[in-house]
């Protein structure tokens, strides 16, 4: 799939998968239809953003937040999305909380390790690798945490 970062389009592969999962098995989607849905999705994002922004401005805020998006959905007559979105928001917040606690725990572990490393200077190489691995894990926001 050719994806140009400058594009205001969404990746074909993901769009196709979402459509396929929504429709009954064995239903084909013409290329034109897929491309049309992709464009429609981009327009939806713009419409939702504009609508959400109105709510933010009403609240004298410059940053769009979650409630602005939810209000926009109601305004756009997509009330059916509100409940699943609220659920997704809860799940997202729990996940963020979990990650925060996990990285704080890792920091504690790392500090403990650093203390013992200073005592064991003969194993420098291994220690460097371990530290790098820990840092990488923090940056990548390890998914294992959630399981």
């Amino acid at each position: 799939m050719a994806e140009r970062p400058e594009d205001l389009n969404l990746p074909n592969a993901v769009i196709t998968r979402i459509i396929k999962e929504a429709l009954p098995e064995g239903v084909n989607i013409s290329k034109e239809a897929r491309s049309a849905i992709s464009r429609a999705a981009s327009v939806f994002v713009l419409y939702a953003t504009s609508c959400a922004n109105n709510f933010a401005m009403k609240g004298k805020r410059k940053t769009l937040n979650a409630s602005d998006v939810l209000s926009a959905m109601e305004e756009m007559e997509f009330q059916r999305f509100v409940t699943p979105l609220k659920e997704a928001l809860e799940a997202y917040r729990r996940e963020q909380k979990g990650k925060k606690e996990a990285s704080e725990q890792k920091k504690k572990d790392k500090d403990k390790k650093t203390d013992s490393e200073e005592q064991d200077k003969s194993r420098d190489e291994d220690n460097d690798e371990d530290e790098e691995r820990l840092e990488e894990e923090e940056q990548n926001e390890e998914e294992d945490v959630d399981n």
């Binding site: 970062p5 205001l8 969404l10 990746p11 993901v14 769009i15 998968r17 979402i18 459509i19 999962e21 929504a22 429709l23 064995g26 239903v27 084909n28 989607i29 013409s30 239809a33 049309a36 849905i37 464009r39 429609a40 999705a41 981009s42 327009v43 939806f44 994002v45 713009l46 419409y47 939702a48 953003t49 504009s50 959400a52 922004n53 401005m57 410059k62 940053t63 769009l64 937040n65 979650a66 998006v69 939810l70 959905m73 756009m76 007559e77 997509f78 059916r80 999305f81 699943p84 979105l85 997704a88 928001l89 799940a91 997202y92 996940e95 963020q96 990650k99 990548n140 926001e141 998914e143």
Partner: protein
């Protein structure tokens, strides 16, 4: 678990959302009045877009020809944009399509239907004379 398709820049949201958040953000930021977007708003917009794609696809499929259908076509979508109030905002980007030959016929009929042969002849005539 880790899903390679959904963009490596925003890991962790991959289970909730398949669409790449970076791309969603680019589209949102293209809106002139928007200054900044909170991370939660970004995730919700991406999720809403997925719900929208599902809704548009299933609605168009069901309200399509009314028969047992094996395919979702462009005209199903275009019909939805035209007839459903919820999807009216898509009317401009999902216009009805007609065959070029039909359109040219319509033009001819407007002009009083001078020629009933190929349109190529029309333009050739102009060149020759």
């Amino acid at each position: 678990m880790a899903d390679g398709v959904a963009g490596k820049d925003k890991c962790g949201e991959q289970r909730l959302v398949s669409l790449p958040l970076s791309r969603i953000r680019v589209i949102m930021k293209s809106s002139p009045e928007v200054s900044s977007i909170n991370q939660e708003a970004l995730v919700l917009t991406a999720k809403a877009t997925e719900l929208f794609v599902q809704y548009l696809a299933t609605h168009s499929y069901r309200h399509g020809s009314g028969n047992e259908k094996k395919a979702l076509t462009y005209s199903d979508l275009s019909n939805t944009a035209e007839h459903s109030e919820t999807f009216q905002f898509l009317a401009d980007i999902l216009p009805k399509k007609i065959l070029a030959s039909k359109y040219l016929k319509m033009l001819k009929e407007k002009r009083g239907g001078e020629e009933e042969n190929d349109d190529h002849d029309e333009s050739d005539d102009e060149l020759e004379s």
